[in-house]
Amino acid sequence: MAAPPHGGRLVNRVARGARAERLAGEANDVPTIELSEVQAYDVANIAHGVYSPLEGFLTENDYVSVLKEGRLSNDLPWTIPVVLDVEQPLARELLGSDVALSLNGVRFAIMNIEDAYVWDKKEMAAKVFGTADPSHPGVQLVMSSKGQVLVGGKVEQFVELPEPFERYRLWPKETRVLFEQLGWRTIAAFQTRNAPHMGHEYIMKSALSFVDGLLINPLVGWKKPGDFRDEAIVTAYEALLNNYFPRQSYVFSVLRMPMRYAGPREAVHHAIVRKNFGATHMIVGRDHAGVEGFYGPYDAWKEFEKYPDLGITPLFLREAFYCSKCGGIVNEKICPHDESYRVRISGTEIRKALLRGEVPPPTMMRPEVARVLLSMRDKLFV
């Protein structure tokens, strides 16, 4: 049986039929806030229950509680603030009223502004990322926010946002039905922002050995420069899954959610989100959601100790490498051989090889995956 949604109820703030038409009409008569892509897809994720139990952007009580405690004000675990910033005069004017939310000029949701409060971006960065260092990409994203004030309140979406990978877009209520239809009682979720290498395959298959199925759920959307582009990730996974995974063992779907690189806190956030999709287990690898040495390799594992009430079981899987003596991909817990036998699976080396137009060694990446990546060599990275 799929994991119950976080907070006990899958949020549904998507209007259909006559209600959607009515809201679309109302949206023409109220002020409009134009959102960034990241903010707009946050709205869609709220509306479709990805962020259950959130029904809207955080109000001040919840925001303060999330920063200080890593929990909502009702005590539920919640580690990443989902917030909407606006200019101060606008916030004052809109408090207590409905606004339309638009992306690229298209109104797609209504929000009731219940709360407006000043935020300290540096404080938020320090609490969420553990640093306010401007070289951290998540900190940069926060510091680039223009609004001095955060507005909180429920949203209701009446138009679906576009998804270039529509064929792979599944919402939580859909994955839940899917798992039920497949007869899966235990589901391990795999979060990724990369094209798959041998280490990823190893940890996914390790998890798959003792659960009914895998939810492979790459993030698409905003990422830092140098990361793989969405098209590269999706195409590379197609190559891997078609060649090396039993068809009935996985569900592959994309999630349009920004990567924040918040390390430990984001690892917990990733788990909560996948719980909403119905996953019972969450694969947490080395330096999960980390970036460039800001976090210790296994800090994310420790973060889970704070949350006995998370409702999804973390699967802590160590870094994988190739051992020439073992003759395969292993990890330090199961391989007795010393460093001279070990080939580290380096994302940096893989990228360099691809940029040179070379297939990375088969100890690091499946040739089928490498070939499709090389075929899109000019469009590989953000």
Partner: protein
């Protein structure tokens, strides 16, 4: 200081437990990561309460919607 105390009062409340139990917990958590009996009790209660809350889960999908979803999943090749 007054502000900190007020905030604490707003965020925490007192629950009574038998003194012998308090002492048992105190000795049990010595040398562990728990820094107080309150912290331990909060941890244990969160664990238990979340398990109990699982019983109260509401199904968000109607039968009609389930049929539509199954149809979509078939169309996309998931089923």
């Amino acid at each position: 200081m007054e502000g900190v105390e007020r905030e604490r009062r707003n965020r925490y409340t007192t629950v009574s437990i038998p003194v012998p139990l308090y002492e048992r917990i105190k000795s049990l958590i010595a040398g562990t990561g728990f820094t107080s009996v309150s912290q331990f009790v909060t941890y244990v209660l969160r664990d238990i309460v979340s398990e109990m809350e699982k019983q109260k889960v509401q199904d968000a999908v109607s039968e009609e919607e389930r049929k539509e979803i199954v149809e979509k999943l078939r169309r996309l090749g998931y089923l």
